[in-house]
């Protein structure tokens, strides 16, 4: 999930004196007074709620993982505030490490899966909010867009968890981990063929 978005926002038409397209919001000091390029409030709130859920799940799995995910939550908030995709990517990276630590310390499978989906949702909504903020701004109507995006991501996560957990329960409940990994390898090959 360590990725820096490289989208170029469309040229500003409603600029009183044409300054050309507004670049990355964090590196663009001259912002127009009538446009607020901060991410939409709904995106920030959703992202922080999801990050909170992820932290709680990781805390239940293993305290150290919970601490790391708490750090990731703070980094996500800072990334939204500073409008930095890079910071958000770092936050996601810290979160993944936190989940790995929680898993290594023997956290429950269910808590780990919930934490994983919540972390993905938190990062995705925050990053989406940044790009919507850059291209459209906080002043415009963006609720529906953010809600649909968050819903789609949550649905994708829920489907993945459903399939993975179902397979785990049904087929690999008592089998060695290597069998699970091989199953997964098959899934990855299938995914690559689809792409």
């Amino acid at each position: 999930m360590v990725a820096v978005s490289s989208e170029a926002p469309p040229a500003d038409g409603d600029e009183a004196r044409g300054e050309g397209p507004v670049g990355d919001a964090s590196t663009d000091p001259v912002d127009r007074p009538e446009r607020d390029a901060r991410p939409p409030a709904l995106a920030v709130v959703l992202s922080l709620v999801a990050a909170g859920v992820a932290s709680l799940a990781a805390l239940l799995a293993a305290p150290l993982g919970g601490v790391l995910l708490g750090g990731a939550t703070v980094a996500l908030a800072a990334g939204s505030l500073r409008r930095s995709h890079r910071l958000l990517s770092w936050a996601a990276g810290i979160g993944v490490v936190g989940l790995a630590v929680a898993g290594y310390r023997g956290g429950g499978v269910e808590a780990l899966l919930v934490g994983g989906v919540a972390l993905a949702l938190a990062w995705d909504v925050a990053d989406h909010g940044l790009s919507v903020g850059e291209q459209v701004g906080r002043g415009a109507r963006t609720r529906r867009n953010v809600a649909v995006h968050a819903g789609a991501t949550l649905l994708a996560g829920a489907l993945s968890v459903g399939v993975v957990y179902g397979v785990y329960r049904a087929a690999a409940g008592s089998r060695p981990v290597a069998a699970l990994a091989l199953l997964l390898f098959g899934a990855v090959v299938l995914a690559s063929a689809l792409r």
Partner: protein
């Protein structure tokens, strides 16, 4: 709009297509640009595989499952294409001919005419560069099912000129946001606002002594018929009796004739500096020197026409603009139109290159021999000052009218202001009249400056 047309615009390559059907008069033109990767989910596969690897090595099934969920997200990011925004757009402007400063409400309505849902759609309206959005961004982000529509409104403040809306930019993304596509959409009826300010007559504008053979209001140094005393001379047979100096006849017994100043009309060309450098203002959102110059030129135009002079308009800039000197009501209307909507003096610079010597050659060829020039320039570079001197040297007397757009905040700004004052001083010492105004109204500045001038 038929289904086939909607499908055609979702083509992979860039397509330009005007969709027209007989049953629907509105045709929306769409240009779908190339799809681009946003790269947002780039690291997810690596993270997933790392989790699986750690899980296998440490024999933790939870980590392997977590990695599997990561693979699920990688799949989610991989599927789907960013759809072209198959939108029917209408744009309505509340007032097509507003006065300057009026607030114009613009309503945009976009309907998803295609048969694919647009899960992530961002619309940015192409507001003309000369209009400032005062209420609400001209943008919206939403998601549209087939047949659903989104409407948004914003308010722009009208400014002088003719403003045409540009294409609406629609950015669509896949649900995961991994790919995006930009589509430029031209609504069926292009929105346009024409804002033509009334020209207020400014005060009396003093001209320099270069006149035509037409009767007018400019006193000349030539004796003849008029109202102001010029000289007396010896009586010649045929002089009108009312011009005989009877006081002198009574005092000395000699017959003498009074000569009055002949009054003539002048030909004036209002030259407005509209080079890119003249689009300078004292503060970022302030009134540019071009706006100030055009406003003052409008006042001068009315005042001079009312005084019976012949007035023309020219712009010093990359876009050609020339209204030959003339008089009369039709000419007045034409001048108003030129000052309001000519692209050469548009509220924002055109961006073309300006060739000074070519411009000067063409300007001199067009300029009538007896024309004088009122040059509206902020004098922010040496080029304007030297141009004023050159035109003056060619016998077209120049009066420089300079709006002050310099500021005094930083050292650089103070230096620019100082350089401008030096240019004004040099022009004055070269015998060119110069008026500068700043804040106060143009007629007041002219009246103040005129008090110093010899007739």
């Amino acid at each position: 709009m038929s289904e086939d047309d909607g499908a055609a615009t979702t083509d992979e390559s860039a397509t330009t297509e005007g969709v027209s059907t007989t049953d629907e008069p509105a045709t929306t033109e769409r240009r779908a640009l190339r799809e681009a990767e946003t790269g947002r989910w780039d690291g997810v596969r690596g993270a997933a595989l790392a989790l699986v690897g750690v899980g296998v090595v440490t024999r933790r099934p939870g980590l392997v499952l977590l990695g599997a969920v990561g693979v699920g997200y990688a799949l989610y990011a991989g599927v789907g294409e960013a759809p072209a925004a198959t939108l029917d757009v209408t744009r309505t402007v509340s007032d097509v001919t507003p006065e300057p400063g009026d607030e114009v409400t613009v309503a945009v309505r976009a309907r998803n005419a295609g048969d694919a849902p647009l899960a992530d759609l961002r619309l940015v309206d192409g507001v003309p560069p000369g209009l400032a959005v005062v209420d609400g961004p001209a943008r919206v982000a939403t998601a549209l099912r087939p047949g659903a529509s989104v409407a948004f409104e914003y308010v722009v403040r009208a400014s002088r000129g003719e403003h045409e809306w540009e294409a609406l930019t629609a950015v669509t993304r896949t649900p995961s946001g991994s790919r995006e596509r930009t589509t430029e959409i031209d609504p069926a009826e292009p929105a346009r606002v024409v804002c033509t300010p009334e020209l207020a007559a400014g005060g009396d504008l003093p001209l320099r002594g270069l006149t035509t053979r037409y009767h007018g209001r400019m006193p000349t140094d030539v004796g003849g018929a008029g109202v102001e005393f010029h000289a007396t001379r010896e009586y010649r047979r045929g002089d009108p009796l009312k011009r005989v100096d009877w006081n002198r006849r009574a005092r000395t017994g000699e017959l003498a004739t009074v000569e009055l100043r002949k009054e003539r009309a002048a030909t004036v060309v209002l030259l407005i500096d509209a080079r890119e450098s003249a689009y300078a203002a004292a503060e970022p959102e302030g009134r540019t020197a071009v706006e100030a110059g055009v406003g003052a030129a409008g006042q001068a135009f009315r005042a001079l026409l009312d005084g019976g002079d012949r007035v023309g308009i020219a712009a010093l800039g990359p876009v050609d603009c020339w209204l030959a000197p003339g008089a009369g009501t039709a000419h007045a209307a034409e001048g108003r139109e030129t000052l309001a909507t000519d692209p050469a003096v548009a509220p924002t610079p055109s961006g073309d290159r300006f060739y000074r010597s070519r411009w000067l050659r063409r300007f001199r060829r067009r300029l009538p021999a007896d024309a004088q020039v009122l040059f509206f320039t902020p004098l922010v570079d040496d080029s304007a000052a030297s141009l004023a001197r050159r035109i003056d040297a060619h016998g077209h007397l120049v009066t420089v009218l300079s709006p002050d757009v310099t500021a005094s905040g930083t050292t650089g700004e103070r230096l620019a202001a100082f350089e401008r004052r030096e240019r004004l001083r040099e022009l004055r010492s070269a015998g060119i009249r110069a008026v500068e105004w700043d804040g106060e109204s143009f007629p007041v500045a002219v009246a103040r400056a005129t008090a110093r001038w010899s007739p």
